[in-house]
Amino acid sequence: MTTFVFRRLGFMLATLLIISLLIFVMTEVVPGDFASILLGQRAQDETLLAAWRSRLDLDQPPDQRYLSWLAGLFQGDWGTSWFYQTPVLPLVLQRLVNSAVLLVLALLVGVPLGILLGMIAGVYRSRWPDTLMTIGMLLVASLPEFVLGTFLIIIFASWLSWLPATSLMAADTDLREAWSLLVLPILTLVLITLPYIARTTRSSMIDVMEQDYIQAVVLRGIPFPLVVLRHALPNALLPTISVIALSIGWILGGAVVVEHVFAFPGLGSLLLSAVSNQDIPLLQATVLLIAMIYALSNLVADLLSHLLDPRVSAT
């Protein structure tokens, strides 16, 4: 077990190192000389160009720049955003908190709901609750996040007028006061995770319900709901738990789109604004941060599935 943990940890760190290199090469080396891109027409002016190049540290060789960028990351100096003109780290962390609120609330709603739906479908396999859920999940899983979000806005804001039109909010809106703005983004995130959790629970529920020990419990005359909840569900949840850990990474990708749909001030919309503003330090930081969270949730998923089921023998 300890060897496994250290191997996985080592692999994660190596992956992150390579990802950081990839991010650096893709954002700084490939596009060419940023000073001349930023200056445009004025790049003809040699002295101005040289001044900007040294200001952006472009006069250093790429390997030097990569190493100093990497060292800065560890020292908490994530650079300065070109667009917002503020240090990147506090900006990114503030947005991270917003996204985390969204993510945690979505998981708090989505996980129990997904387990419940999967459990019902698994117990009533091939009967109408199962068919209904399977078709529903197929529809939801086929809709891209932005299509789901758009439909939800039309239904809840336009037809029913229950919720604010679009969840456009100022960057400094206090999330505790603006709870109604959070409902639709959370609902969208819940809907995109639901199918995965429900399907996994369903198929493991089916497996468990066919086991001898369940039949034995049923034959002993124990009430059926008790059989399902006390005897079947705990065992059926094993595969679901690692799917939940993995779905954190999955939601994170989806969150980029969902935040854009609702103009939610999270990490995802910050990333997109960094792309459209060509804000390289900010782009590097957000991509790396999201990759880090993704790698961590993968690690947790691996460790959990290893802990819960030693038969998945990963060396």
Binding site: F11, M12, A14, T15, I18, I19, L22, I23, M26, T27, V30, P31, T134, M137, L138, L139, A141, S142, L143, P144, F146, V147, T150, F151, I153, I154, A157, S158, A165, T166, Y196, T200, S203, P239, S242, V243, L246, L252, G253, V256, V257, H260, V261, L272, V275, S276, L283, V287, I290, A291, Y294, A295, N298, A301, D302, S305, V312, S313, A314, T315
Partner: protein, 311 residues
């Protein structure tokens, strides 16, 4: 250490999550029927007798036909503006209404189908080609090469798909070719993982051993013995990739990283209609419905193929 450690990746929950069939039950990743050749049209008959599969096939074929004849069917051109008839509700003259420039949304959705289908089919094909090449080499030769290749694939996979696509497009710009290459690269590790497990099962079959004893070259065994026998899983994987390609392609379009205006890209149209969602919802709704129905069709088709090819 080599084979056993990489073997565990097949049970990686990420794969189970992303490849769990929607309707047809495939017991586990290991149930891929390796070495079972596709014979004649028997599988096609099975696909057509399985209602969800048939519906999916019909939807996808319908969209392909619409895309092929889009120019002929569309009542207006995709870029034709009519500033006297902006944001009009659906009517007999404009079935899906008009957008903020008075462009006919029905025509734009029809003509936009060409781009998304071209993008989806070519990026799925590229992903399949890249992934299968890696899988064949890694699965057949095994050893250190396998370990190296699959570790590299793991690293690519540890990058969220959308983020990888975003980074590539932000660097190289978003032309159709770049989008295809970018989605192809995103798919490569995912295809490689699935197909490699198939190759591992085929490589120990008698006919492969026989070919090895005959002294055939590695290349010839890969292309003539292993590849043809992996056709079933390849077709299924291709269909799965097709539906993901539509999803990713549309999402990138929506984020403004796909084809640029005034292109009638579906995702872009949904995005452009967002400001009119409360006053003129049809601007976004019809392209959104088009995306949804096409993805549902592709998903059902993938499901049906899985049912027909891996019974």
């Amino acid at each position: 250490m080599n084979t056993s450690s990489s073997e565990s990746h097949e049970l990686h929950p990420a794969d189970m999550a992303s490849h769990t069939p929607l309707l047809h039950e495939r017991p586990a990743a290991s149930a891929v029927s390796a070495g079972q050749p596709l014979r004649g049209v028997a599988w096609f008959g099975r696909l057509c007798r399985y209602p969800p599969g048939l519906i999916g096939l019909l939807i996808v074929v319908l969209y392909v036909c619409l895309a092929l004849f889009a120019e002929a069917i569309a009542p207006y051109s995709a870029s034709e503006q009519d500033l006297t008839a902006t944001l009009q509700a659906p009517s007999a003259a404009h079935w899906f209404g008009t957008d903020q420039y008075g462009r006919d949304i029905f025509s734009r959705v029809l003509i936009g189908s060409r781009d998304i289908l071209l993008l989806a089919f070519s990026s799925a094909a590229l992903g399949l080609l890249l992934g299968t090449s890696v899988a064949l080499v890694a699965g057949y030769y095994g050893g250190t090469l396998d370990e190296l290749l699959m570790r590299a694939m793991d690293m690519l996979m540890s990058f969220p798909a959308l983020l990888l696509a975003l980074l590539i497009l932000a660097t190289f710009g978003s032309a159709l070719l770049n989008l295809v290459v970018c989605i192809g690269i995103v798919f490569m590790p995912r295809v490689a993982r699935v197909i490699r497990s198939v190759v591992l099962k085929i490589r120990v079959q008698d006919y492969v051993t026989a070919a090895q004893v005959r002294g055939e070259s590695g290349y010839s065994i890969l292309v003539r013995e292993i590849l043809p026998n992996a056709r079933g899983p390849l077709v299924v994987e291709g269909a799965i990739r097709l539906s993901y390609a539509i999803l990713i392609g549309a999402s990138l379009g929506f984020l403004g990283l796909g084809l640029q205006p005034p292109s009638p890209d579906w995702g872009l149209q949904v995005s452009e209609g967002r400001i009119f969602l409360l006053t003129a919802p049809w601007v976004s709704v019809f392209p959104a419905l088009a995306i949804a129905s096409l993805v549902i069709g592709a998903n059902l088709l993938a499901d049906g193929l899985m049912h027909a090819l891996q019974p």
